[in-house]
């Protein structure tokens, strides 16, 4: 350490320079990250001292695009905000429109929406558990979790016709029905899944896994509340919140007695992982209850979606759902021309990414990937609203790209 005199904006100042401190850029293109995010990590030897999180690499301007499209076109646009929780986004959007237009979807449609919702939660949590196992170098568990996940994707494909973007929701209901043979198939898949999830649960009890996951990435309860962290990240820090219980939507009001909210007090990576594994059991339970209670009747109020769209007046609404990563909020404001004058999306990853800073400070460099994975960040969600700075030297890059096109 050494005292130095430096000049900044014409002022002379005494500054302490610590030569053992290093700034390491991490990302946006990095082998440990599936999606681009940039971290500027300051370290002293192996210990992390400070973190700067830079978002915006996946900013596509969806909110701006939505204002130029009609209500039905926007339904398919918001589905593509995120590939992992696409059903959460459409449900949230459709709920807001149904509130403005005073459309009441049939009971069966609400149950089917909830069914896909819980299947999506299982697929998303299995996805994350696999990635987490991969980040600690446990490839066997990664391959196993992803193999188990394929059975859920098969169900999606059989019910809706697509593995990732389901397009299940429509105005005033859902697009696809589930028949008796499908119900039986889902039931048997859930039975197998319960067995596999138990195996995954046991694998995460392994000593070497615990050594990597316990006591890293702490987020205290008061810090979690201060940063407004949501979803499994908050529940892993002892904050008891869940939109499904606190503000029930779709069929969750009827299913209130059938599930409990998993809360763990410790606040480290292991607690967040445990919350997700136990939520898998809850989701399996909810799906079995939905299939047992599934009411009959229509699956949508009106087949002609354009007719329904024209019925939606000028107005505004806020809608909330519990996406696999936490609370998802949509603010929708429609205009007289059957379009949107404002669409605001607040995804769960935005508050959760802010929680990364207290988690990372004090840990070691080798723990960065596993801590990032433990909040399950979905950059495709988060980067819709970040203000993007102009990249310096942009013009020069454009010129080389023009040359390359001529090749």
């Amino acid at each position: 350490m050494k005292n130095m005199v430096t000049e900044k904006h014409g002022e002379t100042k005494d500054v302490e320079v610590d030569y053992a401190r290093l700034r390491i850029p991490f990302g946006p293109v990095h082998p440990a990250l599936k999606e681009p995010v940039s971290l500027r990590v300051t370290v002293r030897k192996e210990e992390i001292v400070d973190v700067d999180i830079v978002l915006g690499h996946v900013h596509r301007g969806i909110e701006g695009l939505a204002e130029n499209r009609n209500l039905v076109q926007t339904l398919y646009l918001v589905e593509r905000v995120c590939g992992i929780c696409s059903h959460s986004h459409t449900t949230c959007y459709v709920q807001a429109l149904e509130e403005i237009g005073e459309i009441k979807p049939p009971e069966r449609a609400l149950y089917l929406r909830t069914l896909i919702f819980e299947l999506e939660r299982i697929h998303s949590h299995l996805f994350l558990l696999g990635v987490l196992a991969y980040e600690i170098g446990f490839d066997t568990l990664f391959m196993f979790t992803w193999h188990v996940r394929e059975s859920i994707l098969d169900l999606f494909e059989k019910i809706t016709g697509n593995r990732v973007h389901h397009s299940m929701n429509t105005l005033g209901g859902v697009r696809w029905d589930v028949d008796q043979s499908m119900v039986e198939e889902i039931m048997s898949t859930m039975k197998n899944l319960h067995k596999y999830v138990q195996q995954i649960h046991d694998s995460f009890q392994d000593k070497s896994v615990e050594k990597r996951l316990c006591d890293v990435g702490f987020l205290a309860k008061d810090e979690a509340i201060r940063l407004c962290v949501v979803g499994p990240t908050a529940r892993g820090s002892g904050v008891d919140m869940d939109v499904r219980r606190d503000h029930p939507y779709a069929a969750y009001n009827d299913l209130r007695e059938d599930f409990s909210v998993v809360v763990k007090e410790k606040g480290d990576v292991y607690a967040r992982t445990e919350v997700r594994i136990l939520e898998l059991f809850e989701s399996i339970n909810i799906i079995q209850k939905i299939l047992a209670k599934l009411p009959g009747g229509n699956i949508r109020v009106e087949d002609n979606i354009i007719k329904l769209m024209r019925r939606i007046p000028q107005g505004e609404a806020i809608s909330l759902v519990e996406a696999p990563r936490g609370e998802l909020l949509y603010f929708v404001k429609t205009n007289v021309k059957g379009g949107l004058s404002r669409l605001k999306i607040r995804t769960p990853t935005i508050p959760n990414v802010l929680g990364l800073k207290p988690m990372l400070v004090g840990c070691e460099i080798a723990d960065i990937p596993v801590i990032i994975a433990s909040v399950d960040p979905c950059m495709a969600c988060a980067n819709r609203i970040t203000v993007v700075d102009a990249v310096t030297g942009e013009e020069e890059t454009m010129d080389t790209s023009v040359l390359r096109r001529k090749r």
Binding site: E35, V58, H59, R60, G83, W146, R163, H165, M379, R404
Partner: protein, 139 residues
């Protein structure tokens, strides 16, 4: 065929770059490498650095922030290389075409060898795309 050229066909090394996709194509690429579809049986290896790669898998409609990074990654992949555009966003830009922050699709910026369309394409289609690309340039 020399040993290097033969190995390139027998075991293409893949680098995956997300240029602003919704993560749908990315999870299908990972699904193509996991037990059900298992592209590794064809010798495909997902590598962490573009400098080690033969095949560049690009997803997403190329956002403004990712454009300089994408070009840098493309230039780091050694010749001969193939570029596979995975997904409808990378192939044609839809549904984000016309967005203020979208600079793509990919073939506006770099030459593309194979387009794999679909939203997102199935893992089988991605594996076929890689095989077609390798046959076309190295085969």
């Amino acid at each position: 065929m020399g040993i290097v050229a033969r190995s390139r066909v027998k075991s293409p090394w893949i680098f995956h770059l997300n240029t602003g996709s919704c993560a749908g194509c990315d999870i299908e690429i990972v699904a193509a490498l996991t037990p059900r579809y298992d592209a590794e049986r064809l010798g495909c290896v997902l590598v962490g650095s573009p400098r080690h790669a033969d095949v560049l898998l690009v997803t997403g409609p190329v956002t403004r922030q990712m454009l300089p990074r994408f070009i840098r990654v493309y230039e780091q992949v050694p010749e001969p290389k193939v570029v596979v555009a995975v997904g409808t966003c990378a192939s044609s830009g839809s549904p984000f075409l016309g967005g203020q922050m979208v600079e793509g699709p990919v073939d506006k910026i770099v030459p593309v060898d194979v387009y794999v369309v679909g939203c997102p394409p199935r893992p089988e289609a991605i594996v076929k795309g890689i095989v077609t690309a390798v046959k076309k340039r190295f085969g």
